[in-house]
Subunit: 383 residues, 4 copies
Amino acid sequence: MDAKAIIIDALFGSGLNRPLSGLPALVTEHINASGNAVISVDIPSGLFAEKPATGPVVRAHRVYTFQFPKLAFLLPDYAEFTGRWTVIDIGLLPQAILAAETDHFYTMKADVEHIFHSRATFSHKGSFGHALLLAGSEGKAGAAVLAGRAALRSGLGLLTMHIPASLLEIIQTAVPEAMCSLDAQARFLSLCPDLKPFSAIGIGPGIGQASETAACFSRLIQTAKEPLVIDADGLNILATEQTLWAHLPKGSILTPHPGEFRRLAGQWSNDYHKIELQKALSKKFGIILVLKGAYTCISDPDGRLFFNSTGNSGMATAGSGDTLTGILTGLMAQGYASLDAAILGVYLHGLAGDLALKDQSESSMIASDIIEHLGQAFKQIEK
Amino acid sequence: MDAKAIIIDALFGSGLNRPLSGLPALVTEHINASGNAVISVDIPSGLFAEKPATGPVVRAHRVYTFQFPKLAFLLPDYAEFTGRWTVIDIGLLPQAILAAETDHFYTMKADVEHIFHSRATFSHKGSFGHALLLAGSEGKAGAAVLAGRAALRSGLGLLTMHIPASLLEIIQTAVPEAMCSLDAQARFLSLCPDLKPFSAIGIGPGIGQASETAACFSRLIQTAKEPLVIDADGLNILATEQTLWAHLPKGSILTPHPGEFRRLAGQWSNDYHKIELQKALSKKFGIILVLKGAYTCISDPDGRLFFNSTGNSGMATAGSGDTLTGILTGLMAQGYASLDAAILGVYLHGLAGDLALKDQSESSMIASDIIEHLGQAFKQIEK
Amino acid sequence: MDAKAIIIDALFGSGLNRPLSGLPALVTEHINASGNAVISVDIPSGLFAEKPATGPVVRAHRVYTFQFPKLAFLLPDYAEFTGRWTVIDIGLLPQAILAAETDHFYTMKADVEHIFHSRATFSHKGSFGHALLLAGSEGKAGAAVLAGRAALRSGLGLLTMHIPASLLEIIQTAVPEAMCSLDAQARFLSLCPDLKPFSAIGIGPGIGQASETAACFSRLIQTAKEPLVIDADGLNILATEQTLWAHLPKGSILTPHPGEFRRLAGQWSNDYHKIELQKALSKKFGIILVLKGAYTCISDPDGRLFFNSTGNSGMATAGSGDTLTGILTGLMAQGYASLDAAILGVYLHGLAGDLALKDQSESSMIASDIIEHLGQAFKQIEK
Amino acid sequence: MDAKAIIIDALFGSGLNRPLSGLPALVTEHINASGNAVISVDIPSGLFAEKPATGPVVRAHRVYTFQFPKLAFLLPDYAEFTGRWTVIDIGLLPQAILAAETDHFYTMKADVEHIFHSRATFSHKGSFGHALLLAGSEGKAGAAVLAGRAALRSGLGLLTMHIPASLLEIIQTAVPEAMCSLDAQARFLSLCPDLKPFSAIGIGPGIGQASETAACFSRLIQTAKEPLVIDADGLNILATEQTLWAHLPKGSILTPHPGEFRRLAGQWSNDYHKIELQKALSKKFGIILVLKGAYTCISDPDGRLFFNSTGNSGMATAGSGDTLTGILTGLMAQGYASLDAAILGVYLHGLAGDLALKDQSESSMIASDIIEHLGQAFKQIEK
């Protein structure tokens, strides 16, 4: 904040319900044009906590907000107004917070500590499940490598990777802890293996969209009895084959980035509309949607939204999503319910990325760094 | 222990020899239903130290036991009663302990320090033996990688890996310190190489159960003059070819997990029965059985049992057993007697897993982590 | 400096404009023959700051110079006279420094901090661009591996590597975060892929000079609309096909080492002549030339030169240049202007090499060490 | 030393020149039979400093010797008498030491600091040479990987590896900094590439002894003008083709372990005889012999012997010799004279192994650990 002066904006808090006009609107425009540093209290004046802004809004450089981040702070549309924000604990009793009726949640460490299961002494490989990952195609084997490594670092017991036959040496060299099941095709997936041995199934990283692969994906959707984890090209296939939606096993987790979400749900007019599209899709098909971004937003079929508090922009890098698919599949294999797996997995993925900043910068971070820091991330949430 | 109150259970110690009845039984049921935290002294009341419990048993959250863990604490059947237990040293003279007649031992650091050989200054590669590992098949090359890496980190002089021909690039890239001998078959093992150059032989990790591989395994058993280390699919083949048992070289080490042991020895009615099956099998065929689990149990032909004190549930992960096979084969190559190799190797394997918890959590641990911490494990037992 | 005595040479400072003669020349020869340690103040007597020396010059072991290194200190020709030099801050006001008219700059930390963009919270993979690297040939796949890994550690969003088909397994195993596009040829590049999806393109590392590859290179030069990063065999092809120069996209970055520069620009008579050749070539074709060496010299079309202050002789090692190509391509993908990318990338590359000296010596350093320390380098220039 | 008492043996120092007899011989036998801890001063009584012992010798557990280790301490034959020994500095002037006529030297840190060249600021890749390594065969690719990695960590500028064609992917994946030249044969070497571009050539690691490979080796020996580094199967081929000896370029370095040396020089009657065989072979063919062992012994054509002071028994492991070949080839490429390269390289190799003990134990050490610690080893000898 290299500025001439600091302006404290405490005009209107988050209780405001109509656009600024008259003098407040003029003052706001004056503040924004002043070149001074602006600190807003609770919320930048003119911004609404939970609905689209329609009038002038103070462009804050910093916001100190009370008790909880406002929904608007978590949406890309309003980033230009909030700058960097900090939550101030004003001592509301936990009961009071829990009583506040909301279907928007901000996932913090205490939430995932509650979800996380510790491992029993007399457990064995079988206690932690056997996951199946369908991943990879010629030229995109790395996505399979990353998803496989991340799954193994997420606590599962056994991992089988179903891959195009030509990927065998790559996968076995790079992911020795995984077993491989080979597709009849060399360069892309075409067949859906027998699903019986598996306690969780993930599909998508690097599979491409060959018509044989789309057919394989379609067969999987129609055969699977248990929830799936679906990412990347799996989502792209789903976007083009709307008839498949009805066959999605209840509780399946879909992990689109905004571009993929647009193909699935259509274009939105603003970020509140995007949220509504997400809620509607979750509800209609009984699925968990993980909309990836700065504050990854998880929706469940009951209309609740869970925004994630961990992660950084260094994770906007090739393969980052593949590692998330691996983590989610690994957690599902251990018996976590879909929503718990999504909340826990997204939190751990972001936390691992934050921990990777000890050795890396946001610029230098690669997806492998996230995997390498999963261990430290788990350690932070263990009781 | 988030509980209303703490109950100290010192009703009956480990001297008890008959099931609780009457008032003690009623008290026990009351304690278990109370929702309070329960701390037992010496042993939870109603539990027998060395035979199956037949009446009501106090469910302790913590046990403080005297001088040694009781046998029951080491068996999965009774985990629900013991919670977390701690041994209290009550100052029995070592002579007194040694005089106590028992064929059950709990392997501690002092025991393996005594077994471990340090290396002479003027030793050379030849001093530490040349091991042969028969491992791997298409899709399970990783098991061979892990076993090979672990063997190399266990002190042997030279390692040759006999592998299906198509695994060559994977193994040479991932395990450059090993030499490879190629099978005539590309995808699975079919031939048993000349055994003369080798001071130790391990077989099993990832070999699968193709009929040619079973034939190769059978030839190996009948040709080998020295003890073998047998794991994984080697055990599964053995389970289906009972005629082979008689040919097992005396002192061979078999390393089943409970599922594999069931195929070898049949179903048990309780954990004491399981122990008896294990003892009987060891005795009948003159072999060492390593029954893997939370307190891995090693049996020798003389009827002794050695329970291991190291390890954690993070090691219940894909490939963990393959690394143990590598370690045992590496120790045998250096001239350790079979029982010593088993006790030392199992202890080191568990200790490496415990040391890996510095960087990993139990959830994130993978088999490669165990291998990477073998160095620190050896350092802890060096004099 | 194990010497009999120390001689302080403060005879003539950097203001001198004609060669030493008479007594000063005799004294200089005496000093050089004395076997004593020589410390020069500002500049060794007889050496000119910015033009070739023509008379006798004091051979200093150390130089303490004022405010800025003299141009001569940055040129290999005069290394024998300057020994190790240190800049002394004499308190010139920054304004005074900026006012001094010069087209020679010495890039320091403050300069690159100014160039570096930090990453926005709501950024995503697409915010950081999609780079294309054309690299590798049979026997030189490692150059592609190193360039790819370095590009990924430089902050880009996505990376596609266009490679000869036989390199697929190598690249996918070693660089899992990259996607691969396969050339029709197995052993060398022959085809130029569609350039539309890419925000930056680098070519050269390990491509060899097969005639098909030269044709592919030629097509790329003539098709590309945006600046390219060109290194190694790309430069060698350019040296033999002078007609291509005119097609080079404006702002392209060429990164020759002295041998490659000689092929591009012809032989020079001394290091000042070399600089003039470099300036002329940059100006004529509107390109950025990065002449690699101890103080890598970057020229822009406006006639400015930027000498780099980081790096060490341990970076004179196989593959070091390939990592620079990767870094520059990665920065271009994120939208840095060519000159900024060159100055920032060269500085980071050298700084990463300096940071690698914590674990390595100049002798033991390999190119992979540079890549592993890029994260720490970025961290040092983040605000 | 868990013993009843400690006996100090200072009966006879290293001046003794005839075997013990009479009372001293009886006392010696009594000491050895006593079960007490024995500490000898200067040398165990009855042991000769520089010739074979012929009478009874005190078996010391520790020896404190004056100024220098005695030659006998460095020979395996007498390890049973010396236990662990320590040199005590008794303050002889360096001049006095240098004046003492000897052709046996014990290489210490100061010696290699003197040999080591630091790197000039304005150096470039070409300053540090281009090495050629001929290495590997089917099933022994790892030896080539280890030699290549070690060469790159030894300071050379460029490395080309000439390998059987089927090893290409392994080498390029595992050693990306090296370029590969492919043999016409897939599984073993058969052709000797053009030697002109190379400033140093190493041959041997993992090449096997196929007749085509022997022919290739033979052509290399007869074509090479500059000294070679020859190891492993190169030595075995040499042992069977005595006519090749006369063609060995003067100054070539051969690096046998005792088994290979026996094949080259014949059987010895004792360790002093072994030394004489080594000296004779060095002199006859004008070569450097590096006889690997606990105190690796280097002989030059002038009859001098240089015993190495670094290293430990953890280095008696698969691939350790391959890394030494890489180091020596890397040093030769930089222009070190053969004897200097041998003394420096053997010292660095041992020191890297000693430094690896920080993370590893002697049991867990693998050859890759040595390579990873070369950087720290170089740092210790830099001035």
